[in-house]
């Protein structure tokens, strides 16, 4: 367990993996703690990455300030922790509320941003999203933390996942209630009340940005991710099939595959931030990792692409990839009509089997900054 002193507060963080490996920092969602990233940590470390996780102020093992909380502190805290572990540049990924922190980090600390991976997130709150947040806040403060978790359940997960895990849901809820300091979560939520639109600001993000949106995410729906895609020139939007908001918990291995592929593309110089939209291959270990998305992906109704046509395209893309192709000589693709991704010469792919390998023990440290 490592502790970073931020003013009078303590921020809990942990690093995993080899010190000289590319760093991926994960930023928690609202009711998360570092433990929730564990399946992804094991997978990504086994694939040759170094992973940093931390609890934001108000969460998990970090201090829960009663009065002194500011949303903008979160990106600063991350920046200072990166300094602390001696990392000049990192890939920063965050989910939901953490995705907003990752985006803020992207424009507030451009030199430290090697790449940004916002997942299931937003830059502005439309009427529907405001009501969802309002209901959650009321549920938390007027009924209780248990009800708040119940409200989140169908927003975070698909029905299939809930059915599959119904035997452990009550148990994990009890653990969550025991682990969380309610006032810490309430304080973090209160920050959302003063949240201001950052849509204009994210246009300043220049680093490669992979935006991940679950197919069935009704909490932060597609149009909120579309706003991010349009604003960030060096971006791509990837739609992840058959998952809801909390995809990093629902399908951690597939998320690792997508993230590892993104980093591999950036590191090898094959990344094209062309503002195109893709559909992730839902099969673990399959190539290509994603195929171009056609049709109006902002609609629930599949107006322009039938299931048969989708399968045809998926198979065609897979066949194309099977051919050995030089990578850097590829022609640039036009936005909106993306070409299929070429197969990467993948030294280490994040797969389910990788997740079973042992992970380096985390370092322990206590330091003071600020």
């Amino acid at each position: 367990m490592s502790i970073f002193k931020y003013g009078s507060h303590e921020v809990f963080y942990q690093t995993y993996g080899e010190e000289d490996a590319p760093v991926i920092a994960f930023v928690n969602g609202l009711s998360m703690r570092t433990l929730h990233w564990m399946p992804m940590i094991e997978n990504l470390c086994s694939s040759g990455f170094r992973v940093l996780v931390y609890d934001m102020l108000g969460q998990g093992s970090s201090s829960k300030p009663v009065l002194d909380m500011n949303f903008d502190n979160n990106a600063e805290v991350l920046s200072l922790i990166l300094d602390e572990i001696g990392t000049k540049q990192a890939y920063v990924s965050g989910i939901s509320y953490g995705g907003v922190v990752a985006l803020k980090f992207g424009y507030l600390y451009p030199k430290k941003s090697r790449g940004i991976i916002p997942i299931s997130t937003f830059t502005e709150m439309d009427g529907q999203f405001k009501y969802l947040a309002y209901n959650l806040h009321r549920g938390l403060t007027e009924i209780g933390f248990g009800f708040y978790l119940d409200l989140l359940m169908p927003l975070n997960f698909t029905g299939g996942w809930i059915d599959e895990h119904s035997n452990v849901i009550d148990f994990t809820k009890r653990i969550a209630i025991a682990d969380m300091e309610v006032y810490g979560i309430q304080n973090v939520m209160e920050q959302l009340a003063s949240f201001t639109n950052i849509t204009d600001e994210i246009a300043a993000i220049k680093c490669p940005t992979l935006i991940m949106n679950g197919e069935f995410d009704s909490f932060t729906p597609r149009h909120l991710h579309e706003i991010i895609r349009r604003q960030i020139k060096n971006s791509r939007l990837i739609l992840v099939p058959k998952v809801a908001h909390a995809m990093t918990i629902e399908i951690p291995d597939l998320c690792c595959q997508i993230i590892a592929n993104f980093i591999e593309e950036v590191e090898s110089g094959r990344w094209k931030g062309d503002q195109t939209t893709w559909i992730a291959n839902e099969e673990l270990g399959a190539h290509p990792v994603a195929i171009p998305c056609e049709g109006d992906y902002l609609r629930y109704i599949p107006i322009e692409l039938s299931r048969e046509r989708y399968e045809e395209k998926r198979k065609a893309a897979a066949q194309k990839v099977a051919r050995p192709v030089a990578t850097k000589a590829n022609k640039p693709v036009e936005p909106k009509t993306p070409a299929p991704q070429k197969a990467a010469a993948k030294p280490k792919t994040a797969t389910k089997s990788a997740a079973k390998k042992p992970v380096a023990k985390p370092a322990t440290k206590t330091t003071t900054k600020k």
Binding site: M1, T141, F145, F171, I177, V182
Partner: protein, 212 residues
Amino acid sequence: MPNAAERMKLLAQDFFSKNDLGSEQETRISLFIQAIKTTNASILTKIEFQPFEWEPYKSLHKQYFKEIELSTLLNKATNWSTNPFVYMEATQLNLKLWQMAEVNQYMQRAFSVDEVFFTYLALSHAFMAEVRILPVLPPTMPLNTPFLSAIQEIEEENGRQIQAQIRMLKAIELPISQEKKEEIVSKQQTVVQSCFCDLLAAVCKLPEERKG
């Protein structure tokens, strides 16, 4: 490194993973929580002298009656011990809480928006935030006994009430710095944490040397 309070909670978790709650344990817990609730209610009786328009009135009025309601609920749900020493030790702990939290200073005059009122709100916040029994019980322990369902009801209500405390603590305008306010909040948390640790030590009958 976990601090003393966190270490005590871990020890209590370990204890309850091997032991059920008996009447002595229920009695100690109830006497401590009832002391908090009745202390808070005693302070809050003065709220009825405040005008309805006073901003904190409505939430403190609600809190006053909730504290009485929950204390009586616990009274009915507890499997009371017949061991007189349990009551004697519990009284000592409650007196310690009164002294450490300087409860007498809140009893003497009407509410007004000043540092004493802010300190009281911070104490009340600490009561609700720090005194939590459910987190030290195994998540598999059924909560369908009268005592545990009453504890659950109390902790859920605390979670609701705490929101009003946070709002008031943040909104109250005083001629003292933010650092000073943080210091007050932190001090009240430490006081309540310390007494709660003593309770857990007594409930789990942990030797003194293991508490620190």
